[in-house]
């Protein structure tokens, strides 16, 4: 039996080619993902392994540095001072100890734009020992910074941007921009640098002024004397450091382990995301594989029946088909593994070429090989399960039947019933989830979405007939008899058409859903930005830093500015829940912001009253005139009256109070944005005036309404592009499925084709017929995808509404039409080869009865 199965695989090589290709692509995606992420994570981990060589114990003030958020204003953190450093240095187990301060430092290009990415652009302090060097940062050229006007830059960044010793550079940490002289270029084995980050060093006093406070450190690294273990030193250090929640102690070993864990977590979440898309590709592959085996078995009905008649049991028939699938799956998976390793290597080389990944070899673990081969083989066998069962049900008498193309039009009633139930249930569950909204609706919507997809797949054969048949008159009109025949061919085997179309539906559904969600979000954000705002510019800082008060006053006095207000985010306890209250300038408020108040007036701000968004008002049972007890960031208490309610807005925050009313109740301002109105609106002159007022600070973002919208929509469209690319594999496999179905159909129908040619259909007509069939199937699949995807996007938007005010589903008709048009194109392309084969068919060979 197995010999027959093997022989079958070999004799149907051609027809199994597409199946193999689908499995190869799917498994290559899996293997490529695994190899790439393993290699990157190994390289990162390797680069980490020496990073903490000079650190036995690190004491860290987690409240220091400019990762500070608005909430941190309220905490009573204790600092790490020079005194603490000296105490640690004096410990019996300490060989040496250095205090470090560090945080974000942006280097500016000549136009005031930030160099490099926004992530790892760091600044720290140069801390020379007695010999005048800092062993962490060996100088390649020049010397370390010794005054507040000097800075050292890491060699790679300097080389990339052409900075030389003696040059003047502009750098900003979190405040105003500084004009500094490059004192030297250094090298470092900090993995952040080998991953594409930049580092600048200030002298310690300057760094402290920038990142902490004079005489304070962010962290202190102590190196143990030989003979003192890291843990022993940790204990000693623990005795002398301040006891406070913000001061933490770690040994070098722990730090290394933590860092490795972080790399691991990062790479595993990337892996999971990529594997998700690989999974979709494989899932699409299932349709193709199952279709292929179904067709192969239909073609072999007589052969199978003969084997049954000769005494093969059902089990043997079933097993032989499954064995065939295993052979196909295994072979394809091995090829896929090889291709995947190639893809992984290519990706690594491509990602590494930007200098953002430390170099290192390729990591192919045994588990990668095992997982890839197992997944490919199991998926193929699973997909062949139903066809195998069907094969085993071929009765022995079928061998005797003269009808060699059994049109096994088994009733679809059971299938349709199941489909209706699943779809109905799915839609109901989705609707339920949407009506619940928010995070509690997430589960039902996800579950319902899956049920809907499943149900529609089950129903596709039923749907395919009327929908495709409806194109009949049009096709006849446009393409004559080729059109009619194409339509007929597309609906003659609804299961096959359905499986082929469904494979495409999956990809298009996801693409549509993402596109519609993206468009809707962009639309909602645009609405928010443009409808509530009268301000011409919003000025904010990179990395979410607050805008410093001195910068605010610089902006206020810039040329052309007619009105301005900060949005000062303060965490205030209202009743018994803490809320972010936006402090705004009451006097210029009406010139800058125009919220559509549902009740009350904006004048209330001037009277020191509170404006609150509708959601908060509802959940706290507040209305205009209600009064709430408050406790302010600096600990003072009071009570506030609600003066107005506005629709939820992410820009304005959940509540607003005037800066005048907040004054005296806060520890420090946390200005998220400065809104500005300029004389003459958003002109390039006004924008330049604002930029000049900041001293061309690379950290300052000056954005007009339009730029805010553009920035946001470009983020969304970039995300969509990435997702499209990741879903591309699933679509590609679906296309292979169309090619496969057509090629096999052409093979099956070769008698008919020969007959058509004999009675006078020319080659062009035959080609056109096959192409049209393909287009019909592809457009049907894409159309269903667009429909389901839009529905799911609507449901998802219903959930997101609670997080994004004013979100409503916006259908990008142009895009959706484009998807359908692309579906048609895909159909045309997929039919190229099968159509050619059909046209080249030897008429006589086709007509001859075996």
């Amino acid at each position: 039996m197995f010999k027959t199965a093997l022989r079958n695989v070999l004799s149907h090589k051609g027809r199994l080619l597409m199946t193999m290709l689908a499995v190869v692509l799917g498994t290559a995606f899996v293997a490529g993902t695994l190899v790439f992420s393993d290699s990157v994570s190994t390289a990162l981990k390797n680069s980490l392994s020496h990073n903490y060589d000079k650190v036995s114990v690190r004491v860290e003030n987690t409240a220091a540095g400019n990762d500070r958020r608005a909430e941190d204003n309220n905490s009573g953190a204790k600092p790490l001072t020079d005194a603490t450093l000296r105490q640690i240095q004096a410990l019996p187990g300490t060989a040496s100890a250095v205090g470090t301060v560090g945080g974000f430092a942006g280097i500016s290009d000549p136009n005031g734009n930030l160099i490099g990415g926004r992530g790892d652009t760091q600044g720290s302090n140069w801390s020379p020992g007695a010999d005048g060097t800092d062993s962490r940062y060996p100088m390649a050229q020049g010397a370390g910074p010794t005054s507040s006007t000097q800075v050292a830059i890491d060699q790679r960044t300097a080389q990339k941007n052409g900075f030389k010793v003696g040059d003047s550079v502009r750098i900003a940490a979190n405040g105003p921009v500084m004009q500094l002289t490059v004192s030297g270029l250094f090298t470092s084995d900090d993995p952040k640098l080998s991953s594409g980050g930049s580092l600048v060093l200030f002298d310690t006093a300057t760094a402290q002024k920038l990142y902490t406070a004079p005489g304070q450190y962010g962290w202190i690294d102590a190196l143990a004397k030989p003979g003192t273990s890291q843990v022993a030193l940790e204990q000693q250090v623990g005795q002398v450091v301040p006891h406070s929640g913000n001061v933490t102690l770690h040994t070098g070993a722990q730090l290394t382990a933590d860092a490795k864990q972080q790399v691991e977590d990062g790479s595993s979440s990337m892996k999971t995301a990529l594997l998700f898309f690989a999974g979709i590709a494989l899932f699409v592959g299932i349709f193709l594989i199952s279709n292929t085996f179904t067709m192969l078995i239909a073609q072999r009905t007589r052969e199978l029946a003969l084997m049954r008649a000769l005494g093969a049991s059902r089990k043997q028939v079933r097993r032989s088909v499954l064995f065939e699938a295993l052979v196909v799956g295994f072979t394809a998976s091995v090829v896929g593994l090889g291709a995947g390793i190639g893809i992984g290597a290519g990706l690594k080389a491509w990602a590494g070429s930007g200098g953002n990944i430390p170099s290192g070899g390729l990591t192919v673990t045994p588990s990668t090989a095992l997982i890839t081969i197992a997944v490919g083989t199991v998926v193929t066998a699973l997909a062949a399960l139903f066809p195998a069962l069907r094969a085993s049900r071929v009765p022995p008498v079928a061998a005797m039947s003269s009808n060699d193309q059994p049109v096994s039009q088994k009733s679809l009633i059971v299938r349709n019933t199941i489909g209706f139930v699943l779809t109905g249930l799915g839609v109901a569950v989705v609707l339920m989830g949407v009506s619940q909204g928010g995070s509690s609706g997430r589960m039902p919507v996800a579950l319902g979405a899956m049920l809907v997809m499943l149900g529609v797949f089950v129903l596709t054969p039923l749907l395919s007939r009327p929908i495709i048949a409806a194109t009949g008159p049009l096709f006849r009109r446009l393409f004559g008899v080729s059109g009619t025949l194409a339509k007929q061919n597309a609906i003659r085997n609804p299961r096959r058409t359905a499986a082929t179309a469904s494979a495409l539906t999956i990809g298009v559904t996801l693409i549509t859903a993402l596109t519609v969600i993206g468009t809707s979000i962009t639309h909602a954000i645009t609405q928010q930005v443009t409808s509530n705002m009268k301000a011409d510019y919003a000025v904010s800082m990179q990395m979410g830093f607050p805008v410093s008060p001195s910068l605010v006053s610089d902006l206020r006095t810039a040329k052309g500015v007619t009105a301005s207000s900060v949005i000062d985010s303060q965490y205030v306890k209202l009743g018994d829940e803490t809320l972010s209250v936006s402090g705004v300038d009451a006097n210029s408020f009406d010139q800058l912001i125009a919220p559509d108040l549902t009740s009350g007036t904006t004048d209330a701000l001037k009277q020191g009253q509170l404006l609150i968004d509708a959601d908060q008002a509802k959940s706290r049972h507040l209305q205009v005139g209600s009064s709430v007890p408050v406790s302010y960031p600096n600990g003072t208490q009071g009570s506030l009256t609600v003066g107005g309610v506005y629709p939820k807005s992410d820009l304005l925050g959940p509540a607003m109070l005037s800066e005048q009313a907040l004054a005296g109740h806060t520890t420090a301002p946390f200005n998220q944005v400065v809104l500005i109105r300029s004389d003459g609106g958003a002109t390039s002159a006004n924008e330049q005036a604002l930029r000049d007022a900041t001293g061309l600070n690379p950290l300052v973002k000056v954005q007009s309404q339009q730029q805010m919208v553009d920035q946001f929509s470009s983020i969304i469209s970039m995300m969509l592009t990435i997702l499209y690319a990741l879903l591309g594999m699933a679509v590609l496999i679906a296309i292979l499925g169309v090619v496969n179905t057509l090629a096999m159909s052409v093979f099956e129908r070769k008698r008919e084709l020969g007959m058509l040619r004999a009675v006078g259909l020319d080659k062009r007509g035959v080609k056109r017929m096959v192409r049209l069939e393909s287009v019909v199937i592809a457009v049907f699949g894409a159309g269903m995808g667009v429909a389901i995807g839009s529905f799911l996007a609507w449901a998802a938007n219903g959930l997101l509404k609670s997080d994004l005010a004013g979100l409503s589903t916006v259908l990008p008709w142009g895009r959706l039409a484009l998807f359908i048009a692309l579906g048609a194109t895909v159909g045309l392309l997929a039919a190229l080869w099968p159509a050619r084969r059909a046209a080249r068919l030897d008429i006589l060979g086709a007509i001859k009865t075996d």
Binding site: V481, L485, Q488, R751, V759, G760, L761, G765, T849
Partner: protein, 252 residues
Amino acid sequence: MTTTALRTAAARASDLTKVYGAGDTRVTALDHVSVEFYRGEFTAIMGPSGSGKSTLMHCMAGLDAVSSGSATIGDVELNGLKDKALTKLRRDQIGFVFQAFNLLPTLTALENITLPMDIAGRKADRAWLDRVIATVGLADRLSHRPSQLSGGQQQRVACARALASRPEIIFADEPTGNLDSRSGAEILSFLRSSVRELGQTIVMVTHDPVAASYADRVVFLADGRIVDELQSPTADGVLDRMRRFDAKGRTS
């Protein structure tokens, strides 16, 4: 042999040779065959299996290229015609009835009948079509699909299709080969009446002397050569000839 000068040829083979394969597997299926099929006549081609009957038909119908010699339909010489022209010729001038698989399963009987005209984008001549359909006796089965028709009915649909476009000539290769004798007889008398009443030209390949007796003339093929012919054959006469070839074949 031909005696009537009035008869005109609807199709003609002159010195037609067809060779398959090369070297060891070389087979001469047709060996310098010259024959004429007359307009308005029902010709049967008979001969032992492998004698080249189907090959002759295929070459005459432009389904297969000849090795040498010529085949003409009407005044058109098939040799040298491009695929496109051949296709058009088949569509407009030639009708086919094969032994099996004549019909497209996705089309109804009527759609199958009008298929060649649909392909040509021509409107069917309604009166003619009705007459053809009435002759084959399928008026009540027109909306059925092939799978809903019996084998005999399917062959009748195939015959109707061949007739519907009024081709110059119809080629039928063992049209009754798969049918029982009653359905076979129906098809045959129908073919004969379409020659007598509608003036159609038909060439039919058959193994069955009874079938051949419906024809006006029988041409005998053996080893790729025309060896004999009979006018107004009877079944017994045909059988008698066949036996003689057999005997000759065995003794030679």
